[in-house]
């Protein structure tokens, strides 16, 4: 069995392993590096040269996040929109998918076209802003929920899944006198749990990551999401609005510290953490789902 590998195969293996190791380092190391800097003393970080391990270990940056009302409030808003928005979206999208999975639906073609068109054409930034303003959604929590309630692509994902369910199950429930609502809630939804979990992950991550709606549709500090606050911090850093380290440390309890590599990294880490936490589920549902979809198409 132990066949001697050809020299070209050895070279091949070397190339493959080195390349993949490079991919690993390039994708993983940046996260490790921000973790290291976030746990390093803010004043010491300015010296640079932090690569693999904190030089002066401290959790002070994280503590200052929890002392900062703006940051703490933004975490709350982000959690709230994710927790409220995700189930509402999943429910609305799956109801829509169920209705459109019935080809006998009145004007099925027109409804499909009506929705699919929105995937390829839209009003764009300014008209959308104006409409949202005219609906009174500016500075309202619901601006995080309603404009993004439906994802037509997600609907197609769920609909495809529903269409592959054995028709007999619904038929027999129909015989027992169940109406469409009961069929949907009692027969179809329980069977769709895998695809619904995938879609919920999709939507939930989208809510957690979204910054744009909070950035342009809300002005109240109480409605700024974590990502929107992080944009602000990034902008301040980019425009070089640096204050001296001392001043920044003195202010860190009251407002967002302007410079402070460590604190910017700590906020970045806090924003990344939930994604890492749902990662096992991503592996289980999401990636498999994509694989399946790809194989089928």
């Amino acid at each position: 069995m132990l066949r001697k590998s050809a020299p070209s195969d050895l070279a091949f293996n070397a190339i493959v392993y080195v390349f993949l190791a490079f991919v690993f380092v390039v994708t993983f190391y940046p996260f490790w590096n921000i973790l290291v800097v976030s746990f390093n003393d803010a004043t010491d970080s300015v010296r640079g040269g932090l690569y693999l391990w904190p030089r002066v270990f401290t959790a002070e940056s994280y503590r200052s996040i929890f002392r900062n009302e703006e940051l703490l409030g933004s975490v709350q808003v982000t959690v709230l929109r994710t927790v409220i928005g995700t189930p509402l979206s999943v429910l609305a999208v799956s109801m829509m998918a169920y209705a459109l999975s019935k080809r006998e639906l009145i004007a099925w073609r027109w409804f499909s076209l009506f929705f699919i068109f929105t995937m390829y054409f839209g009003g764009g930034l300014i008209p959308t802003y104006m409409v949202i303003k005219s609906l009174g959604l500016i500075d309202s929590f619901w601006v995080f929920i309603f404009p993004g309630l439906i994802g037509v692509f997600l609907m197609i994902l769920i609909r495809t899944y529903m269409e592959q369910l054995p028709a007999e199950l619904e038929e027999s429930a129909k015989m027992d006198g169940a109406n469409d609502l009961q069929l949907f809630a009692r027969v179809v939804l329980p069977l769709c749990v895998p695809v619904l979990a995938t879609v919920a992950l999709f939507v939930g991550i989208g809510h957690w990551n979204s910054w744009y709606d909070s950035y342009i549709y809300t002005y109240k500090p109480g409605l700024k999401t974590l990502q929107a606050v992080l944009v602000k911090i990034l902008n301040q850093y980019q425009t070089g609005a640096m204050v001296s380290e001392a001043e920044q440390l003195a202010n860190s309890s009251k407002r967002i510290p302007v410079s402070g590599e460590s604190i910017r990294m700590a906020v970045t880490m806090v924003a990344t953490l939930p994604i890492v936490l749902v990662y096992p589920f991503i592996q289980r549902f999401f990636v498999k789902g994509i694989m399946m979809g790809a194989i089928k198409s």
Binding site: L20, E104, F114, G124, K133
Partner: protein, 322 residues
Amino acid sequence: MERAFATSTGRTRTVRMTLASKIYKQRYLLLMLLPAFIWAVFFCYLPMAGLYMAFVNYKPALGGFWTNLFHSPFVGLDWFRYFFHNGDFLKIMRNTVASTMLTLVISFPVPIAIAIAISEVKGTLFKKTVQTASYLPHFISWVIAANIIVTMLSSGGIVNDVLKFLRLTDESILFLQEGRYFWWIVALGNTWKEMGYNAIIFLAAISSINLDLYEAARVDGAGRFKQIRYITLPHLKPTIVILLILALGGVLNAGFDQHFLLGNGLNQDYSDVLSTYSFRYGLQNSMFSYASAVGLFNSAVAFLLVVMVNFASKKLNNQSLF
């Protein structure tokens, strides 16, 4: 049913009755469709109607948006003319196309290479670790990605440290302050963010290749380079062609996030793309109608491109993307 319309009025009524009874029979289905329908009307079709802004001189006044809109003076295509004839148009188009094309050239082959490499590795642990790390960047927001990129590229960041270590530069390069690096930063950033995730679809395609083919090639004395050249790549070709065509359809869709978040006053000559330009003129300079016209130009051309791309893929594969 068709004949019913043509004959007596009595029968027409039965047709109407059947429609009404059909609606009644499907009332729960229609009810379930209602939230999505309302959503589409309010957040997709009303903004599309609002695109009328691009053809008037919209001035915010006391009334609501729609009242103001229909009382604003009609200016025809003036805003489009203004866009095409002022000096910004060429620059914005150059930036948009340069950024998306450079992204395409760099970010397209990398996932293919990753997928092939992963499929050639035997050990599961190594494979899993690499894969798991490689799609993490896809799931984080561009805000986090931009924070990471800005940090890595700063004067004391790791990229400059490595360049100095390799003696490629003596002074720190200010990557984000000099415009000429910008397209490369976006292209490499896009590649970094999506390469692991985009490899999934190629991995799926590779996993569907019949293993006997490799066995036969081995018997014939083909090394592993040759197996990739003559078996794996030809089998990936349909997937590659479809994805390439799709990517060409998005040539005007330079992502707003990366250009907005990584762009700054110093690199604006290179970082300003259609979407950020429209954003700046609309929400920061309050030139609402002009910004709408730029946005409409962007979506209309992008839509045409998608239609063309769909047509091309139909021709090639006899299957529609829609």
